[in-house]
């Protein structure tokens, strides 16, 4: 990667869609995303008129609220060249579901399509739009990578995070068996049907432990909260982090669900 231009003045203008989980639980992920985007030559702004992509409403059948939130996001991100989110799930909502939700809305149908076309998940934006093939970061150890269902199946992202991870000095990626299987999070599903969600999680945890990797990474904080929560309950000594933290070389924060003293 070329030396990071401190603040590019001619790069594309990216609106960062923080995602509600990152905003609440893991701000470091958004800072890592900003660092990576700026290093890749983009100018980054974070519109304040954003809260959530609306999935909790959308997936609970509350269409009216989902539509209202979608319109709000579309308006907030209209001034930007691109919208980037450190999440496959939220990007999928913007890119795949907003155009469906607003297909019959004369004021918003076209605008939803425009937003969809310029929305990207972080790692795929870095690779596919900014053309990065490596990052300047080091991480000593073995990691495994969990693909979120939405990244994999709604956005067809598999290569981008792996390619970037391969460039991290000292990092060895061990592929996760059955990586195409869900971790059992599923948003509100995780609390509506906790027993089933937990059983699906157990399969994922066993696969993670089988890799004997020192850390598990993913691009979605929902999956990461689920996986970290499960590993923590099992007292497993394995770090859980968002892939952006590792790619940005920002791993001095305690891992997800790790105690502050474990720093």
């Amino acid at each position: 990667m070329s030396p990071a231009p401190e603040a590019a003045t001619d790069g594309p203008l990216v609106g960062l869609f923080v995602t509600c989980l990152v905003d609440l639980f893991r701000p470091s992920v958004a800072f890592a995303a900003i660092k990576l985007l700026e290093a890749g030559g983009a100018r980054v702004e974070v519109p304040r008129a954003q809260a959530c992509c609306g999935q909790p409403a959308y997936n609970s059948g509350d269409r009216d609220d989902a539509v209202a939130i979608a319109r709000q996001v579309i308006e907030a991100f209209e001034p930007f060249d691109y919208v980037v989110a450190p999440s496959g799930s939220c990007t999928g909502m913007l890119k795949v579901h907003y155009p469906r939700l607003l297909a019959d809305d004369p004021r918003f149908a076209e605008r939803a399509k425009t937003l969809a076309a310029k929305s990207y998940e972080l790692t795929s934006f870095l690779v596919d739009v900014l053309g990065l093939s490596e990052v300047e970061a080091s991480y000593e150890g073995t990691v495994t990578y969990h693909d979120s269902c939405s990244s994999l199946r709604e956005l067809h992202i598999r290569d981008a995070p792996r390619r970037l991870l391969a460039s991290v000095t000292g990092l060895t990626l061990i592929e996760l068996p059955e990586s195409e299987i869900c971790c059992g999070f599923g948003g509100t599903f995780s609390v509506k049907y906790p027993d089933i969600s937990g059983a699906i999680l157990d399969v994922k945890l066993n696969n993670i432990l089988d890799t004997e990797a020192g850390a598990v990474l993913a691009g979605d904080l929902g999956c990461l909260m689920q996986i970290a929560g499960g590993l923590s309950r099992e007292r497993a000594k394995i770090e859980v982090r968002h892939v952006a933290e590792v790619l940005a070389g920002m791993t001095d924060m305690p891992a997800i669900a790790a105690s502050l003293k474990s720093r």
Partner: protein, 474 residues
């Protein structure tokens, strides 16, 4: 909480705690999933076939009335009769009436999910008719008085040891010292028991994987050959199928069969693919002397032209069940419906109404693997969401859930308010966590902490930190 919700959740929890079931469910991965993947990779034109098959079905559904009429006239031409059954009760009565007409005492049945859908066996048995399932899996669940737990593998929930014990109990007059330790032993014993039934059955009932309008044929795919015996040995053959099984031509049927077998069992083709067209003709060595087709609607024509029409493309391969993490965790019985898994969660409310099955479309992480493997590209996650919308609109979610969602949405639609509330919430949670990084228990997050810890927040929301950073820069 509604009664149905309690019973689904209870059944699911029991399934999760059932060691034998959990052991049996492991077979889904090694059997179906791996074999399907291998079969698909051997067929470079799989995706092209998928598009073709989808187009065939979409076309047929758009002109369903015409193809049903064409099919009927072919059946009549070949000496058979078609009976249209608007409801499950109609179908049951038609079949019972036919059994009475032909003086049936014993009915041999091939595997048919439609017969499960209309609960045919109980109806015939109540009228004093003996019904014998001839598909090995169906025979076993019949012996046990259970329902099939998978649409193509009725006994996927059982292990061979359990089946051996059932056979010892049910098959009297055989040596108690006989070997029943291998699947082959079980198959051989079932075969010898069933062979006697085929020979004396008065009526044979089969389902149909496809009906062909061009030829008036019904098609079944089996690996045991029991379907052939069911349709050829008894004097009367009744085919029972739902209306969406129809395809226009023989060529179309072959296209779909190529996808069906690979998606279902990972076979390029099943051991038997049987086309039956009407009754015994002059010079035929065998075959029935009477041929009837009962075409079941049971809510399907109402799906035409609506949100759930795409579901009628389903060819019942079971791939969505095999690849569903929820089905893989709880098996088929917990769904409490004839059709389990993703396809069942979409189809069942369409056939029965949403009232007693509200959990089905909700109990999914929407991981999308079902749609990915569906040979007919049915948008199952979108349709699960569509049912959730109806469920929510009808106001049938619990009060607590609606209130939580509405309160959250109220804030989410007002980012300023949302950020303020988020900051307070995160501050409180952080204080509560006290540097431990996680909660093992949290009063208002019990459903979460019941099965995993809750990671604690970092201390401030991103929006707080970002606003401060912007301010410091200036």
């Amino acid at each position: 909480m509604a009664e149905a919700t309690i019973s689904f959740k209870k059944a699911a929890s029991e399934a999760l705690a059932d060691g034998e079931l959990q052991r049996a469910l492991q077979n889904v991965k090694t059997g179906f999933v791996a074999k399907r993947a291998a079969a698909k990779s051997r067929l470079p034109e799989f995706e092209a076939l998928r598009a073709e098959a989808r187009a065939i079905k979409d076309h047929t559904l758009t002109h369903l009335d015409l193809y049903l009429e064409a099919y009927e006239s072919k059946i009549v031409e070949s000496g058979g009769k078609v009976h249209f059954a608007p409801t499950a009760a109609d179908a049951r009565d038609i079949v019972l009436g036919l059994c009475h007409d032909y003086g049936a005492k014993l009915v041999a049945k091939g595997k048919s999910m439609v017969s499960e859908e209309i609960a045919l066996n109980a109806h015939l048995q109540a009228a004093g008719i003996e019904v014998v399932e001839t598909d090995l899996g169906e025979y076993i669940v019949q012996l046990k008085g259970e329902a099939p737990s998978h649409i193509i593998a009725p006994v996927i929930h059982l292990n061979k040891e359990t089946v051996a014990a059932d056979f010892r109990r049910a098959h009297k007059g055989r040596l108690t010292s006989r070997r029943l330790s291998d699947v082959q032993d079980l198959v051989a014993e079932a075969r010898s028991v069933l062979r006697e039934k085929f020979l004396v059955a008065d009526v044979g009932i089969t389902g149909a994987n496809l009906l062909i309008a061009e030829t008036g044929s019904s098609v079944i795919v089996t690996n045991e050959g029991n379907g052939d015996l069911t349709s050829t040995l008894p004097r009367t053959h009744i085919v029972i199928a739902s209306i969406e099984k129809i395809v226009p031509t023989l060529e179309d049927a072959c296209t779909i069969l190529r996808l069906l077998c690979r998606s279902a069992t990972g076979q390029d083709i099943t051991t038997y693919t049987t086309f039956t067209t009407g009754l015994r003709h002059e010079g035929d060595p065998d075959g029935p002397t009477a041929y009837h087709v009962v075409l079941l609607d049971n809510g399907r024509s109402e799906m035409l032209g609506g949100t759930f029409q795409d579901m009628l493309r389903c060819i019942r391969c079971g791939a969505c069940l095999n690849h569903c993490p929820v089905y893989g965790a709880i098996g088929g019985h917990a769904y409490g419906s004839v059709y389990p898994g993703p396809m069942g969660a979409v189809l069942t409310p369409a056939l029965q109404g949403l009232d007693h099955v509200r959990d089905l479309p909700n109990a999914s992480s929407l991981c999308g693997r079902c749609e990915e493997v569906c040979p007919m590209s049915i948008p199952l996650p979108s349709m699960l969401r569509a049912w959730r919308e109806r469920d929510f609109t009808e106001g049938k979610r619990s009060r607590a859930e609606r209130l939580a969602l509405k309160a959250w949405a109220f804030a989410a639609k007002r980012p300023g308010l949302y950020h303020a509330l988020a900051a307070v919430g995160v501050l409180l949670l952080t204080r509560l966590a006290g540097g431990r990084g996680r909660f093992t228990r949290l009063a208002f997050a019990k459903p979460w902490t019941r099965v995993r810890d809750l990671p604690a927040p970092e201390g401030r929301t991103f929006q707080q930190l970002y606003a401060k950073m912007q301010k410091d820069r200036k």
